[in-house]
């Protein structure tokens, strides 16, 4: 328990160092573009494939759970839409991305730490925390919402295909996904995503930045990064849902 508070304190101190104005804006822009490519573009395929398949499965499962002939088929559309927008795209996908993006951030910073590249920055009087971590946090919090909205769309397409294969007509499905649609759900999902993106990038940076020892330490720090950011995401998912929807 003491250790947890100690880490929390260290994390907050690190974040205070991270949030400072970049010294050289052209260099910062270059770093940011590099990070956008790493966290964003490189995750596109993963997001598309997972969303497509999960969407399809959700639709098929909903269809087969509707046993009574009295329940209209368009509910398949409603249920798929709501589970994708409210939970799958923002939360489940963030957990998956925590594995991909989180571990890559932690291992990158960890190997910079153990090969003294971070010391080399500090020697020159550069705020290494801000220089290395700020572009990562900004890139993830900017790009994750796009990934999540993309995931909703692709998931919906998957659900439509899944629905067709389980004899839900296109008309029924389209009626379903428009039925009592509340755009606030999207806002809610985007808010969650931004928070999760910040958690993933900052928590993983923390573990990478303070890696100690040799190559094994880098592997350990990236495992810790993924586990910790996943737990924190689940915790905040509960808190945010309670705050925003309840």
């Amino acid at each position: 328990m003491m250790k947890l508070f100690h880490s929390l304190g260290k994390y907050i101190t690190l974040m205070q160092r991270v949030i400072s104005k970049p010294k050289n804006s052209s260099l910062f822009r270059r770093q940011l573009l590099l990070e956008l490519e790493k966290v964003g573009i490189n995750s596109l395929w993963l997001v598309i494939i997972i969303s497509l398949f999960v969407g399809a499965v959700v639709a098929i499962q909903t269809k087969y759970n509707i046993e009574s002939p009295l329940i209209p088929m368009y509910l398949v559309g409603v249920a798929s839409r709501d589970s994708l927008i409210l939970e799958f795209s923002p939360t489940m996908l963030s957990l998956i991305l925590a594995g991909k993006v989180g571990s890559s951030i932690a291992s990158e910073l960890g190997s910079m730490r153990i090969t003294e590249q971070i010391d080399a920055l500090e020697i020159m009087g550069i705020n290494s925390a801000s220089f290395l971590i700020l572009p990562k946090i900004i890139a993830t919090t900017l790009f994750f919402p796009f990934l999540i909205i993309l995931s909703m769309f692709i998931g919906m397409i998957g659900a439509w295909i899944g629905g067709l294969s389980a004899d839900v007509t296109t008309a029924e499905f389209l009626y379903g996904i428009r039925y009592e649609f509340r755009s606030f759900y999207i806002t809610y999902a985007v808010i969650k995503t931004i928070v999760f993106a910040f958690i993933i990038s900052s928590v993983s940076s923390y573990f990478g930045y303070y890696a100690k020892g040799g190559a094994i330490a880098v592997g350990k720090s990236s495992t810790k990064a993924v586990v910790s950011s996943s737990i924190v995401i689940l915790l905040f998912n509960y808190i945010l849902t309670d705050l925003i929807l309840a």
């Binding site: 050289n24 910079m112 003294e116 590249q117 010391d119 020697i123 020159m124 009087g125």
Partner: protein, 248 residues
């Protein structure tokens, strides 16, 4: 010149540096020697400000680092070059970008001026036409040389080298040692080198501090070292049979 006065450093119960005082001279290669774990890297990191000493102070040309204003500290940092044990090149940048990095960060030079400086430094370490290689494409000796080029790109007044030739073959090691000494004398830099390589000691040991049991146990130059009668120093320096024979 860099002087340290009564430097103390503990890691928990591990008393690594005890009441150390010494002067590192300008235009000379100053050596810190001692066994593995004796605290050489710790002392070097205190000198460059990566670690803070528990007590005591470090003076750069007479000015106490702890009493400097932030702006002074920042300017001083730009006069410090450091060669890390593993080179510490930024592995996502090319050789050219690595050497140019401090120039981009701290000067308002134009791109062509910066490029000139990069090529000059590369030539100085005898590595022309490697501009567009990535660090992963370099040999160990080349990494060290690029790291030296990066360390001197801002024309430092102080140069710190942590085990510059560990992991290198004897011939390349001598090349690196010579390079460090030439640069030191050419630009009248205060250079401080950590080493436990006896070849280097004999090659470039102008002003040597031997660390033992957390203290500065012995000081002198390479000639004095050969003739010294200090038992601990002898045990360290003449650990190898070859050097024992050499001494006799």
């Amino acid at each position: 010149m860099i002087t340290i006065n009564n430097i103390e450093k503990k890691f928990g119960n591990n008393h690594v540096l005890k009441n150390m005082s010494f002067s590192f001279k300008q235009g000379k290669t100053n050596l810190i020697i001692g066994e593995s774990g004796s605290g050489k890297t710790t002392l070097l990191k205190i000198l460059v400000g990566l670690y803070e000493a528990d007590s005591g102070n470090v003076c750069f040309d007479g000015i106490n680092f702890n009493e400097m204003r932030n702006k002074q500290k920042r300017l001083l940092r730009q006069e410090i070059g450091m060669l890390f044990q593993g080179g510490a090149l930024y592995d996502y940048m090319t050789v050219e970008e690595n050497i140019m990095f401090p120039l981009t960060m701290f000067t308002t030079k134009t791109t062509s001026e910066k490029l000139n400086r990069v090529n000059f430094c590369l030539e100085r370490v005898k590595l022309t036409n490697t501009n567009h290689l990535m660090p992963s494409e370099l040999s160990g000796g080349m990494v060290k040389r690029v790291a030296i080029a990066r360390a001197i790109s801002m024309q430092p007044k102080y140069l710190f080298c942590d085990e510059p030739n560990s992991g290198l073959d004897p011939k390349t090691a001598i090349l690196i040692d010579d390079l460090i000494r030439e640069i030191t004398e050419e630009y009248n830099i205060t250079t401080i080198v950590n080493t436990h390589d006896m070849n280097s000691v004999m090659q470039i040991g102008d002003n040597i501090a031997f660390i033992n049991q957390g203290e500065i146990w012995w000081t002198g130059n390479k000639e004095e070292l050969i003739n010294s009668n200090n038992m601990e120093l002898d045990n360290f320096v003449f650990a190898s049979k070859l050097f024992q024979r050499l001494k006799k």
